[in-house]
């Protein structure tokens, strides 16, 4: 009961728009504490860092997805673009391309794919759902055209990045991918909250018609968010390549669902216009911690992860629904 009264007190002191993010944060802390009580060796800083290490790519992808969802759109192509990025990296590196050239090319491919989808969505007024679905098929199809087998990455730069440990003191460490992901999160948070583009994203998501009448560049904003999402997916793909050191056409199948789930659990409204990047970060952490807890439990099978994520989605959507209903 204390939690309920606590929530009621919160509503008086904290603006309502922060409640979903705070609930997610509370959930993360509660899960961590519960895990710490239940399992030995759980309540360490490294567990949280491991969640970051294992989900750095998802974090980057979810950041791009947050941009798209904030404008009221959706991007189903992210998982395939991640797969395509690992595939392109692996096959070009095998042909002896320099590592940084490959990275640049992969990022350009992702951004151009996003740009194309954004342009089709805006100028031809086709639903984002359908356009990005076609993009998903296209990227996955390109993966299979490159190769249907898994290609190992043996490039020195890639393996060096994969094996580097950044020590944080006290036996704690993170991978360089985590640092890259954090830089992306900070940059995205800055863009969303302190630049014109960010404000336009929120305005377009709030009401496209109003944004248009206010004279905001809706076309540029909508195309920009899909480009950002494509770029983030490609970067996520590079991080995934560092993580797995191979390229495989079937990698990251279904990652778009994880990314959407993370964004929703983070409290961003799917109708657009409301939500925070911090929520998305917490959403990814909650998803990662569920997996950690299930692996600590040992006897629970992997499919329980999906059932728990489904239940969490349900709870959070219900919460959002209650909050928006009260606002009216």
């Amino acid at each position: 009961m204390t939690s309920v009264t606590g929530l009621l007190d919160l509503r008086r002191t904290v603006p309502q728009k922060y409640i979903p993010v705070m609930v997610t944060a509370g959930l993360f802390v509660a899960m961590f504490v519960a895990g710490g009580i239940r399992y030995e060796g759980f309540a360490t800083g490294q567990i949280v860092l491991n969640v970051f290490i294992d989900n750095a790519f998802l974090l980057v992808v979810a950041v791009g997805m947050t941009f798209v969802i904030l404008t009221g759109g959706i991007d189903l192509s992210v998982g395939s673009v991640v797969g395509l990025s690992t595939m392109v990296s692996a096959s070009l590196l095998k042909d002896g391309w320099p590592a940084f050239g490959v990275m640049a090319l992969v990022l350009v491919i992702g951004a151009v794919l996003g740009l194309g989808m954004g342009a089709i969505i805006h100028y031809f007024e086709i639903q984002p759902f359908i356009v990005t679905l076609a993009g998903m098929f296209l990227a996955r199809g390109l993966c299979y055209t490159i190769s249907t087998d898994s290609i190992p990455i043996e490039n020195a730069t890639f393996t060096a990045i994969a094996q580097t440990r950044v020590d944080l003191g006290g036996d704690m460490w993170v991978s360089p991918s985590v640092l890259i992901a954090l830089v992306v999160v900070l940059a995205a948070a800055y863009v969303l909250h302190y630049t014109r583009l960010g404000r336009n994203v929120y305005a377009t998501g709030g009401s496209e018609q109003s944004a248009l009448l206010m004279g905001l560049p809706v076309a540029r904003t909508k195309i920009a968010v899909y480009t950002v999402s494509g770029f983030c997916s490609a970067l996520g793909g590079l991080l995934f390549a560092f993580y797995s050191l191979s390229g495989y056409g079937l990698s990251a199948v279904g990652m778009e669902l994880d990314a959407i789930a993370a964004v929703v659990i983070g409290g961003t409204l799917l109708t657009g216009g409301s939500g925070y990047l911090l929520g998305t970060v917490l959403g990814v952490l909650v998803l990662g911690l569920i997996q950690t807890i299930i692996s600590f439990e040992g006897t629970l099978s992997s499919w329980w992860t999906k059932i728990f994520i489904g239940l969490l989605l349900f709870a959070f959507i219900l919460l959002q629904r209650l909050i928006t209903a009260r606002r009216r």
Partner: protein, 348 residues
């Protein structure tokens, strides 16, 4: 001629004909339908037979999309229905007993209906966006299917069950008969009774329909339930065809194919109108595309590339904005928005 060109189903039919013509060039005897052991055989029959589950799922999806909703959970329902039916049958003492198989099928379909009611309640009762409401079951349902099969592939050896997806009846594959019956029933319910009109009015404007005395909630729950039931039957078909249930892979991505089929068939995702014939055509196009790719010797890995290409072309051709920009360069400033025009038109 222009009337013909402007018909809603012109482009889907044209693409299907083009695909079939391509097959005629590349494959000998493509159009030959033979009679062997009292069964009909041939490439055309195969297309319909293998496309049967997709047609079923797409039919349900059409009605959901007509209410301006979407159902992402059909793939999971396919997996759950197949998994539950196979589990019940594998527990039977005599797997060939018709009563036992009927009971298993009944339980699986009842569960599908329950899942559909759940989706409908989330959308209509609580008022969650359809794409999100059904995302819950899409994610959790896949886990549920694996829970039922315990992560294993459950195999059965039951000839009555095999009939649903792989058997023949009256010279025709049984799955085609099921599809024909469901299609006829759906067409009757929506086009001869008022249900179709109600669905379209809810899709056009749910609030206005409610104010004019239509039970929008009831209609929504009905279509989501119907969609899940169709997915359940498709799930039985898929699992019966291979006599096993795979909680992980059965019906994977079928929701995307079904949505594509519906969109290719000319049903707008904005809701308010639908075309059952178009959906069947759309599903057949997708299946023919897959068959064509195998038969003309293109590596099957590129299926997805072709799918992406066809989807993009069909969607662009159907987009009013695209047609206006490409075919008539001038846009009259005062013309009513094409989207609203499309919405009020009620098709027969």
């Amino acid at each position: 001629m222009t009337r013909f060109l402007r018909h809603r189903l012109f482009w889907p039919v044209a693409i299907l004909v083009a695909l079939l013509a391509l097959n005629l060039v590349f494959t000998d005897n493509f159009f030959r339908v033979q009679m062997k052991d009292g069964h009909l055989y041939g490439s055309l029959i195969d297309i319909v037979r293998f496309g049967a589950p997709l047609i079923l799922v797409s039919l349900g999806m059409t009605l959901v999309i007509a209410t301006s909703g979407i159902d992402l959970s059909v793939g999971s329902v396919v997996a759950i229905a197949g998994a539950l039916a196979c589990l019940r049958i594998s527990d039977l003492d005599d797997q060939n007993s018709i009563g036992g198989v009927l009971a298993a099928v009944g339980i699986a379909l009842a569960l599908s209906v329950a899942l559909g009611v759940w989706n409908g309640l989330l959308v209509a009762g609580i008022g969650i966006q359809p794409i999100i409401a059904t995302l819950i079951l899409m994610v959790a349902g896949r886990g549920l299917a694996q829970l039922i099969t315990d992560g294993q592939i459950t195999t059965v050896n039951s000839s009555p069950y095999k009939l649903i997806g792989g058997g023949y009846w009256l010279t025709l594959p049984f799955s085609i008969i099921i599809v024909a019956v469901v299609l006829a029933l759906t067409a009757f319910l929506t086009r001869r009774l008022a249900l179709g009109l109600l669905i379209e009015s809810v899709g056009g404007n749910a609030e206005a329909s409610r104010l004019s005395g239509i039970s929008a909630r009831g209609v929504l729950i009905t279509v989501y339930t119907f969609c899940a039931l169709c997915a359940g039957i498709a799930g039985l078909m898929i699992s019966s065809n291979v006599s096993s249930a795979d909680g992980n892979n059965a019906g994977l991505w079928i929701e995307l194919d079904a949505i594509l089929a519906v969109v290719i068939g000319g049903t707008s995702l904005a809701g308010g109108r639908f075309s059952l014939g178009g959906t069947v055509l759309g599903a057949l196009i997708i299946q023919t595309l897959t068959t064509t790719i195998y038969s003309i010797g293109v590596p099957p890995e590129t299926t997805l590339l072709f799918k992406a290409l066809v989807v993009t072309i069909v969607c662009l051709l159907q987009s009013p904005a695209f047609r206006e920009k490409v075919f008539h360069r001038r846009r009259r400033p005062q013309s009513p928005s094409p989207v609203t025009e499309e919405k009020v038109r009620v098709s027969a």
